[in-house]
Symmetry: C2
């Protein structure tokens, strides 16, 4: 294995707790998987919701499964600004003090008082991949990408363990700023 | 002077040729300056237009003056994708082979057959600033920014001459990917 890792570009999406699935899609509703994601056990769902902020609505935003202990909305900073939500950059699951929003589904609405973030860029690595790259869970690395908008992302969080598989996760702002597409790769290098 | 240069974040905007000002705002209309920009002789205008692509409309987009020999629309890649325009990354003025769009003003519409670009990131430097930084017009440099989304932009074009004044020009995708605001600065470093 080289130090090249494929890049996964995350469009705006959300994860739901079961209570919010019930409210948005109907009591006892189960999320419907449509596509497995690269990370083991994670999947895109058929379900979509509208996300409402003080200045506008993001319509038809994809739910990712499985359900989680807490609902989390992940927007690019451009998306968040567009609907008037001041979303901070956060690691997944670290939702204390984050702003909320309204979610609208076919069966009902949820008023979140927190849970909207811009995802902290990160790289998922299996234990063996982390070993080859000589990094460990919670390290920070840099990621270099080539091309006419080539750049080096600093402060990229390593997430490694049994539930992880080689993939650099960036959002659409980061992907567009770097000119990346669906087949892009990044080089994991020592933190600069 | 250190190698720190202030960053100017460009929101989507356009430059117009006089013939298009005539069509959009009325025969003989003169652009109305509202604010001088950092680059000598450049200014924001009161005038706004709607930009129409195959998949949507960007409403109320700011015109920058003065008029130019050729109309040029500058969008972030996120904006362009949102309205279905496949805009390439280009240096200002290099519009051959670029896609067009429709412009709608209060007095009429213009159907552009080319002119929509994503701006190539660049740094404006006065001749004395360029001398201090030991770079010249048309060089490429890298620009490092600090912070939780800190990164190093490679392939940053130097534009230097009498009409230029120290400012790194990035678009909203680049600004959001790097977590930049209105008071951000970048460090101009040797091309990586």
């Amino acid at each position: 294995m080289s130090n090249k890792v494929k890049i996964g570009l995350s469009n705006k999406h959300l994860h739901l707790q079961q209570a919010d699935v019930d409210t948005l899609f109907g009591k006892g509703h189960q999320l419907t998987p449509t596509k497995d994601l690269t990370q083991p056990g994670q999947f895109a769902c058929e379900e979509k919701v509208d996300i409402v902020g003080p200045k506008g609505v993001l319509k038809g935003i994809r739910v990712l499964g499985p359900v989680r202990p807490e609902t989390q909305v992940e927007l690019a900073a451009t998306d968040a600004r567009g609907v008037g939500i001041k979303a901070p950059v956060r690691e997944s699951g670290k939702l204390s003090g984050t702003p909320g929003c309204k979610l609208i589904g076919p069966a009902g609405e949820v008023e979140l008082d927190h849970g909207v973030i811009v995802a902290l860029r990160h790289v998922h690595l299996s234990p063996s991949q982390a070993e080859v790259l000589n990094v460990k869970d919670k390290d920070f690395v840099s990621v270099k990408v080539e091309g006419e908008r080539g750049l080096i992302f600093n402060n990229v969080l390593v997430r490694s363990g049994a539930a992880h598989n080689g993939e650099i996760h960036l959002d659409t702002d980061e992907g567009n700023a770097a000119g990346l597409g669906t087949d892009s790769v990044g080089e994991v290098i020592k933190s600069l």
